[in-house]
């Protein structure tokens, strides 16, 4: 709890919030309990800044979609409050919250044309006809679908349909856009181009975006900040870089990117720690804050921070080192990934080396080393 609050307060404001046009969303002790063994959303407090691109990331069943639905009003709160720009909306029905929403299956109205779909929220708001026509044309241009006005959704491709849905969700200038895994049903290439589109539109319209995904890559590409969900609570909140570089927990380290994990018996108290008889240096600022629910600790090193040398003497000075055996080599184009087995522990990890580096071969005995600055000691 304390960590979450701290994270929300002390995070540096993202650059895109310079133009504060969006709405602030404040979740305070938000809980949703379906009466099962564990609450779906368990006491979440989080402030989303105006104009921020916030991503809810987490495995399925971690409560991220439920939290989004609570903001949208499709679920009722068990406890806690949700406030938009300081106004409590917990008891407001969804149609009165003035939030745009994008769904994974697009949810376009099949009996209406593209133009009629996009005009839907404007007609609900009883705008005069000429203004509706103008706004629809504008937004269709923004999503690059000019000229498809009279098509029915079934005549469009998946990517085009999601763009119509995006146009429909932003045409009425909602202060918040909620995106519920909107790219989940699209193939890889389309995903990438729509990601770029969503980023561009976020910059142009300046509303607060809340994006739900289980895809860590997507989350890192798009977000100003990421809220990492795990089993109904917030694991960590921060910029993509902060989450990747300074994970607080083993879960966070494992969920975002690859990690080499060395489990420790206790939280390191001095400037050194030991793992299977090896002594490693510890930089104090790389040690994560303790968590009451987690009693174990682990050293986490990213594969790209691992140097592989023939012997311990070749390893750069001042690094932490561990003997390893090369179990597999994967050629990835611009780099190679080595699968390493560390010492006699049976612990397996990865190192990323230059593709032109050809000295290392399968079965070699090597030494893996890394700077103490690049390791992270997380709660597990």
């Amino acid at each position: 709890m304390s960590i979450v609050k701290e994270a929300a307060v002390t995070q540096d404001t993202p650059a895109s919030a310079e133009v504060k046009r969006g709405t602030e969303i404040r979740l305070d002790h938000v809980t949703k309990d379906y009466g099962l063994a564990v609450p779906a959303v368990d006491d979440i407090s989080l402030t989303i800044e105006p104009g921020e691109f916030m991503t809810f990331l987490g495995p399925s069943g971690s409560g991220k979609t439920t939290t989004l639905n609570l903001i949208a009003g499709f679920e009722t709160l068990t406890a806690g409050t949700i406030a938009l720009n300081g106004t409590e909306v917990g008891s407001l029905p969804p149609h009165k919250r003035n939030l745009g929403m994008l769904f994974q299956n697009y949810a376009l109205f099949p009996h209406l044309t593209v133009a009629q779909n996009v005009a839907y929220p404007l007609r609900e708001r009883k705008l005069p006809k000429p203004e509706i026509v103008r706004k629809v044309a504008e937004v269709l241009e923004l999503v690059q679908l000019t000229g498809r006005d009279d098509n029915f959704p079934s005549q469009l491709s998946g990517g085009q349909q999601q763009r119509v849905a995006l146009a429909r969700a932003i045409v009425f200038d909602p202060k918040v856009l909620l995106l519920d895994e909107p790219l989940g049903a699209l193939d890889r290439n389309l995903r990438a181009s729509l990601q770029a589109e969503i980023r561009r539109i976020h910059r142009e319209v300046g509303s607060t975006f809340v994006f739900v995904t289980h895809d860590q890559e997507e989350a890192m590409n798009l977000s100003d900040r990421i809220a990492l969900f795990n089993a109904g609570h917030l694991e960590q909140v921060g910029t993509p870089e902060a989450l990747y570089r300074d994970p607080e927990t083993l879960f966070a380290a494992r969920f975002l990117g690859d990690s080499n994990v060395f489990e420790l018996d206790e939280r390191p108290h001095s400037a050194t720690t030991s793992w299977h008889g090896l002594t490693w240096a510890v930089a104090p600022h790389t040690v994560a804050v303790p968590r009451p629910s987690l009693s174990h600790y682990a050293v986490v090193v990213r594969p790209e921070d691992v140097n592989v040398t023939r012997s311990a003497s070749e390893a750069p000075r001042g690094t932490n080192a561990v003997p390893a055996r090369v179990r597999d080599v994967e050629f990835m184009g611009s780099y190679r990934t080595l699968m390493l087995e560390f010492g006699t522990s049976g612990v397996v990890g990865r190192a990323r080396i230059d593709a032109s580096e050809s000295q290392v071969a399968l079965g070699d005995e090597v030494v893996a080393s890394w700077s103490p600055e690049r390791q992270r000691i997380v709660a597990a």
Binding site: A72, F74, P93, P94, G100, M101, A107, Y120, P121
Partner: protein, 286 residues
């Protein structure tokens, strides 16, 4: 009801045209006995109509088949005798009002039950379907007994209420099946775009399940239009429906005008049942 079955069979069992066209080489040819059986069943179902329609053009004042002379006397009778025209008017009025009521109630029930799950929903559904499996005479007696107390016998309201109750299950079934293909995420989308639940129903749900609603309404209309048992119990000298008048015309007075009335009903009901199909094709062409 029978006219629907007849129509379906008429279109399904097209005359066997063996020899003329042999398109489907890969598929087994239809054996002769299957075509025969089909033709026999079709005959069995449309035979009454084949008797009634020629008879309606008879000039005789009694029932006669085959008719000796061709005449339109019976149709003239039907359209000039006030007793026939009034009862036709009553029937149409009752059927329209009953269909409207049944459609509103049945659609509301279907939409409501669609959101419910579990035992309660199943129980409610069964309860609403009871009138379809209850013998007409049982319903008639129950309706008669209670309507006597409430002074509803022989009144338009009484007919409409009783017939609407018979029509509800048909609407429930057809709207429920239409809702099966309806994506509830559309309602969330509609709400997120600022539409109240009622507006969402009117602008999203209704257009998408309109075929189910229209089909249900037509079934409700026809159910009321040819209902005779309850109508017999509720009839009053001042108000009776066409089926009751037809029943009277053969039991009380032997009046062959009934064959003209029957022919008209067969034609009218067939046309009504074709409506949703025509609506459907127009939608598809768009």
């Amino acid at each position: 009801m029978t006219s629907l079955d007849t129509r379906a069979l008429l279109t399904a069992s097209a005359p066997p045209r063996r020899g003329r066209r042999r398109r489907d080489r890969g598929v087994d040819p239809t054996p002769w006995w299957l075509s025969m059986t089909g033709a026999l069943v079709a005959m069995y179902l449309i035979l009454p109509t084949l008797f009634v329609i020629p008879m309606s053009f008879s000039s005789s004042s009694t029932f006669q088949f085959p008719p000796k002379n061709f005449s339109l006397d019976l149709y003239v009778n039907f359209f000039t005798k006030p007793v026939w025209l009034t009862s036709l008017g009553n029937s149409v009025l009752v059927a329209i009002l009953a269909a409207i009521l049944a459609t509103v109630v049945g659609t509301a029930a279907a939409v409501g039950l669609d959101r419910l799950t579990g035992r309660v929903a199943g129980l409610m559904r069964t309860l609403l379907m009871v009138s379809i499996v209850t013998p007409g005479i049982v319903i008639a007696v129950a309706v008669y007994a209670s309507f006597l107390q409430w002074h509803l016998t022989g009144s338009l309201l009484g007919y409409v209420l009783a017939h609407a109750a018979l029509g509800v299950p048909f609407v429930l079934v057809s709207v429920t099946s239409a809702l099966g293909g309806f994506d509830p995420a559309l309602l969330r989308a509609s709400a997120s775009l600022g539409a109240s639940p009622l507006r969402s129903f009117v602008r999203v749900t209704m257009p998408l399940i309109s075929r189910g609603i229209v089909t249900g309404a037509i079934f409700a209309f026809v159910t009321s239009f040819d209902e005779v048992v309850i109508a017999l119990f509720l009839r009053a000298p001042t108000f009776q429906t066409l089926p009751v008048q037809m029943y009277n015309s053969v039991t009380v007075e032997i009046d062959p005008t009934i064959s003209a009335a029957s022919s008209l009903i067969v034609v009218a009901v067939t046309i009504i049942f074709l409506v949703p199909q025509l609506v459907g094709t127009r939608k598809k062409n768009r």
